[in-house]
Symmetry: C2
Subunit: 120 residues, 2 copies
DNA sequence: GTCTTACTCAACCAAAGAGTTGAAGAAGGA
DNA sequence: TCCTTCTTCAACTCTTTGGTTGAGTAAGAC
């Protein structure tokens, strides 16, 4: 997978088990064992999922005796939200402008499609 | 990968090339060839990327002579935004409550961590 | 009709993901 | 000390993904 932070966050949340873990961590911190309990996979698999979430910056882990409590870091959500909102807004803006154009030329054929680049 | 819609959308956007395509489509519709131009991969690879985006409901394709103009369907973003906002808000709510607790017992040790389940 | 353009399908390959089992590390309890 | 608990590491398997090349389809253009 790609190394950039945004790709990591999206990829981390593309798995339903990991999304479920995030949902549960939004309620409160939990240990690896507690997190693993509801799923019918090994605790090692859950540990791997947590590493993916941690690499994405979505969770952090402290130490408390043998336990490693997992904590949700909700700020990373902002990264995604900003990306999504940017292009959603842009697309909506475009529809709005298209409506204006259509309103201004009520009995003509549609104009050629707009063009442009805007990476990342 | 998992079959549920949310997983498909997150997975589709976990690839930087696909995110770039979405960004460009927010500006305006484009054909497969136009979309492929800036990248140093084959047009077939771009066609595959588009299929992933289409399966996720992020784009749609019409027909116009030999061309297949690609159109961004921004509404699917809402699916993600709702999921993200739900748990972000929940996590923030939790911090707020924790602050209240800490304020109400200024010189005690911290209470045991809260617990609970809340899937999907 | 044939030719050219725009795109997709099929088969293949290498790398990454998600799971497994088994062993090892880390820290408290006996 | 040894024992138990909680967690991770290592090695392996299987599937998916992102890319390739080569052939095939669809629809104007000549």
């Amino acid at each position: 997978m790609a190394a950039d932070p945004l790709s990591r966050v999206f990829a981390a949340l593309a798995d339903p088990t990991r999304r479920d873990m995030v949902a549960r961590l939004a309620v409160g911190d939990a240990t690896v064992g507690e997190l693993a309990a509801p799923y019918d996979v090994t605790v090692q698999a859950v540990s791997k999922h947590l590493r993916v979430l941690e690499d994405a910056g979505l969770v952090s882990r402290s130490r408390e005796a043998q336990r490693r409590p997992v904590h949700l870091e909700a700020e990373v959500f902002d990264l995604m939200t900003k990306w999504i909102e940017r292009y959603r807004r842009q697309a909506e803006e475009r529809y709005r402008r298209l409506d204006d154009v259509l309103r201004s030329m009520p009995d003509d054929e549609t104009p050629p499609t707009a063009q442009g680049r805007n990476p990342s």
